[in-house]
Amino acid sequence: MTTETITQDIPALQVGGYTLQNRLIMGTGGITDLEALEKALVASGTTLTTVAMRRYSPDTKTSVFSMLERLGIDILPNTAGCYTVKDTVLTAELAREALETDLIKVEVIADEHTLLPDVIETLEATEQLADRGFIPMVYTIDDPATALRLENAGAAAVMPLGAPIGTGLGILNPHNIELIASRANVPVVLDAGIGAASEAAQAMELGCDAVLVASAVTRAQKPTAMAQATRRAVEAGYLSRSAGRIPRREHAQASSAFEGLINPVEELT
């Protein structure tokens, strides 16, 4: 079976009114070489990629925007750098106007050292953005209760962190991620913390619907290779999850029958 055939077995994901074709969402931060970024994005197969909103400067111009347009990759603007509801809503409105999309990755952080989400502000921002017709995909802590609150506030997807942004520590609390995924009525996207492809597969096996990866690819020694690995890991994780894992057991269970065994050879003395 070719990779293409397997990929076709993985259905698209509905996020609010948006159809996510590929379950690997990519970030664009953490890499200075735009050409290398482009290669990595193409290798990842991603159809949705995040950008941040910043003041227009003649130096930065609109290079990322043009590149994503040229590659036909949909844009997921984030509200990175926002600390308050007010800043988050304004940033989202600017993103919608500039990029002509209702998608918004809601990211309200508590402080710049941990970059952990401020869930109180996040909850309020989510409610306001949903009211304003956005499709909020909400970065949050790995807490099942908070995930449900966000869903009820209008989140189109909840995006719990595996570990703090950029740490590459993997999924620190797999039990909570699994619990969030099992109880959510909206898609769950594992966001932040992934360091290697295997952890993307693990996220999918735990029941996440998609994975967002930035640093793990863009800061890898070979971004293109890690992009390809992560793409396959997401596919593998999805298929593994849907295949149904065996239950965990205390003791070994032989897979070869004991019947018909030859007589043991007498021990030589």
Binding site: T28, V51, Y56, S57, E69, E93, L212
Partner: protein
């Protein structure tokens, strides 16, 4: 001439200038009256005046009088 602040830098624009002129000045691209680039494609920028987003459809009708504080943003790498 009138002076407005664009991304916290003072910029002089001719009397009667609108938001279309301000955006064209900053981006260095020629714009149609509806705010789209003359050379085609999408501009990918948004404008806020005093913390309120002004949709592109209203740029041409928004005349500047001087002293306004404009934020003009675009997508950059991130996330």
């Amino acid at each position: 001439m009138l002076t407005v602040s664009i991304n916290e830098e003072d910029v002089k624009l001719p009397e009667g200038a609108t938001l279309v002129d301000a955006v064209a000045h900053l981006t260095g691209r020629e714009l149609n009256a509806d705010g789209t680039p003359v050379d085609g494609g999408r501009l990918g920028v948004a404008v806020a005046v005093g913390s309120a987003v002004v949709p592109r459809s209203r740029w041409a009708a928004t005349e500047l009088t001087g002293g306004e504080e404009l934020e003009i943003v675009t997508a950059v790498q991130g996330g």
